[in-house]
């Protein structure tokens, strides 16, 4: 049964500041660096969340949510539904807390991410994409015990993600725009909540791949929409719909969604390797693809590089000038 929509005050600036205290020592304060593409006009910056201990920002949200859970709530362990990065975040924190962890994954989840989840000691339960999506919608997986940590629609997870916004404003107080890869909306809502509170005039933009862009469709229609989702190498982002719970929130917080092609994302991954010496997964490179295409406008633009967990064969294809399937 779908849960109630998230209320913006649930991820207020105080909750985000409190989250920062809770996760210090768990997540690192990632650097904000210039995109080293001197031939492009304007100033594009990269918030390198791919340098987090699990290779993505998800440690922030998982860390905050689980710090708020009591030992009693965690008695039967935790579980989550994730294409990989949130699973690593929850598994990492579960290991720290000494509780068991199960992860429900869609069957196209990449081998790199599954291997990393297993290394962290979590148990993997593979299901078809539609069933996995149902867990996301219903906030439970029938028959599974333990405390469910929703990868997206959990105010504590979003507040944890929002700590990225605090760091951006500290490092670049006059930021003009922030571009965020859009998956379930938890990253966008968290970061946007922080930045709206601290510098309301900042443009806050989502980025989606054309093969999985329900947010752009929803903005165009003025209501949450479902779309025809095609899986690509950009596995960490995009769903088949904007979650009903998230739509009222992201509609208020975001100024729009920028849509880029899969080939543009592959080029952005390569550019990040060649010019900035970092590995981004497809989702992580989405904002850079949008910014390089000029879609994010002018001024000081921050691209949040959400993660760097990509299969080495796919990365090799991209570095050789191709686009992975």
């Amino acid at each position: 049964m779908p849960a109630d929509p998230i209320r913006p005050e649930q991820i207020g600036i105080d909750a985000i500041r409190a989250a920062r205290e809770r996760i210090s020592g768990l997540a690192i304060r990632t650097p904000l660096v210039r995109l080293e593409v001197p031939e492009v006009a304007g100033e594009i910056y990269l918030k390198l969340e791919n340098l987090q201990p699990i290779g993505s920002f998800k440690l922030r949200g998982a860390g905050n949510a689980m710090a708020l859970a009591s030992d009693e709530q965690l008695r039967d362990g935790v579980y989550t539904a994730s294409a990989g990065n949130m699973a690593q975040g929850v598994a990492w924190v579960a290991r720290e807390r000494g509780v068991s962890c199960k992860v429900v994954v869609p069957d196209h989840a990449p081998a790199t991410k599954l291997a990393a989840i297993e290394r962290l000691g979590a148990e993997i339960v593979k299901v078809p994409f539609d069933l996995w999506w149902q867990v996301i919608i219903e906030h439970r997986f029938a028959g599974m015990e333990g405390c469910f940590i929703h990868p997206v629609c959990e105010p504590a997870v979003m507040a944890g993600n929002g700590t990225i916004g605090l760091e951006i404003i500290e490092d670049l107080p006059d930021v003009d725009a922030v571009v965020l890869p859009y998956g379930g909306g938890g990253l966008s809502a968290g970061v946007a909540s922080a930045i709206r509170a601290l510098r309301p005039e900042t443009r806050l933009l989502a980025a989606e791949a054309e093969t999985a862009a329900p947010l752009a469709a929803s903005f165009a229609a003025g209501e949450a929409r479902e779309i025809d989702y095609q899986p690509t190498f950009i596995d960490g982002s995009g769903g088949k719909a904007v979650l009903d719970q998230m739509w009222p929130l992201v509609r208020e917080l975001l100024d729009g969604s920028l849509v880029v092609s899969v080939a543009e994302v592959a080029t952005a991954v390569r550019t990040l390797v060649e010019r900035n010496r970092v590995v981004a997964e497809g989702a992580g490179a989405l904002p850079v693809a949008a910014a390089l295409a000029g879609k994010a406008g002018s001024g000081k633009i921050v691209c949040v590089i959400s993660g760097g967990n990509i299969d080495s064969s796919k990365l090799a294809t991209i570095l050789s000038g191709g686009v992975p399937e």
């Binding site: 690192i28 304060r29 990632t30 650097p31 660096v33 210039r34 080293e36 001197p38 031939e39 390198l48 791919n50 340098l51 201990p53 290779g55 790199t112 390569r270 390797v273 060649e274 900035n276 010496r277 970092v278 590995v279 981004a280 993660g307 760097g308 967990n309 080495s312 064969s313 990365l315 090799a316 570095l319 050789s320």
Partner: protein, 317 residues
């Protein structure tokens, strides 16, 4: 003449001047399988290597009149990028003598920053160095290894390591000309004389290792993918300083360098060039007990995309 190691005051002065120019680079936990290994990711610097620290500091200590002659250096690529970046910053020309065999990505990066790469055969680069040929030229020459201000700028990296990981026991440092070891080593030994410094070179270019064995500089042959440290001799000026700073000198095979490049990319989302992966390769070859809490300096990440693609798709690694 052997340069005097920088004083702590000089290091702090340099670090202050570098604020806003270099990033306090993150120390990230290595996720590829060895415990207590931390990677100092200097690849996040604007030019993708630590060289910006020393070169910027050295250029900032020149008078405006000296800088107006233009900056010049000799480089396998990373120093040239630093000099180009700094030249652009001060609005003066930046010229670098580079071996024609330098990675294309490095040559292109120098051009993109407005620098002038002067490509010559590799032997010519070292002849120029040995004969101090820059003395005949009008530019303000910044020597990548023996310039004391360069060393002082690099020392800022050592200050960060000690501040971020007070429990550090061993630091692994790649050695080419020795400027990084001289700077970082001076900082660490000043603050924490108990920390062990391990100088790391590729088996394919063991100039410092051979100099230690011979108790003085010797020439070696160089054949390695670690182009950033492929210096076939340790200079007589640098040798005494490096010898006194390094507690150990280790060599790494080409296979282990490639394996470290692959693991940094796949486990830590970091792109390393050969020289940049040396320190990690050396640390993971040593037992946890022997090295304790370890910091590896990932010095640079300018590697040609086709080579990186080949390494990460190599099934033998």
């Amino acid at each position: 003449m052997t340069p005097q190691p920088p004083s702590l005051d000089e290091m702090h002065f340099a670090a202050k001047g570098l604020e806003g120019v270099v990033v306090h680079s993150p120390l990230v936990e290595y996720r590829g399988g060895a415990a207590d290994v931390w990677v100092k990711a200097e690849t996040v610097q604007a030019i993708g290597s630590f060289k910006l620290r020393g070169i910027f500091h050295a250029a900032s200590q020149l008078s405006e009149e000296q800088r107006a002659h233009g900056l010049s250096t000799v480089s396998a690529g990373n120093t040239a990028q630093a000099v180009a970046w700094v030249g652009r910053h001060f609005g003066v020309p930046a010229r670098s003598l580079m071996p024609a065999t330098a990675p294309i990505t490095k040559i292109e990066a120098v051009k993109a920053l407005g620098g002038e790469p002067v490509l010559v055969p590799r032997d010519e680069v070292f002849r120029y160095m040995r004969e101090h040929a820059w003395e005949q030229e009008p530019y303000a020459f910044i020597h990548p290894w023996t310039n004391r201000d360069v060393m002082t700028g690099h020392a800022s990296l050592g200050l960060e390591i000690v501040a971020d990981r007070p429990d550090v026991e061993t630091v692994f440092i790649p050695v080419g000309g020795g400027g990084l070891l001289a700077g970082v080593g001076s900082a660490i030994k000043t603050l924490r004389p108990d920390v062990r410094l391990v100088a790391v070179e590729p088996e394919g270019c063991p100039s410092f290792h051979a100099a230690l064995a011979a108790r003085g500089p010797v020439d070696v042959d160089c054949s390695t993918i670690c182009d950033g440290v492929a210096v076939p001799y340790t200079t007589a000026e640098m040798f005494p300083l490096l010898r006194d700073l390094a507690d150990d000198s280790v060599l790494v095979s080409e296979f282990d360098v490639r394996a470290a490049i692959k693991r940094l990319a796949t486990a830590n989302a970091l792109v390393a060039e050969g020289a940049g992966a040396l320190a990690l390769a050396a640390a993971t070859a040593m037992s946890n007990k022997e090295r304790g809490v370890s910091v590896c300096i990932l010095s640079g990440g300018s590697i040609d995309a086709p080579l990186l693609a080949e390494i990460i798709s190599d099934p033998k690694i």
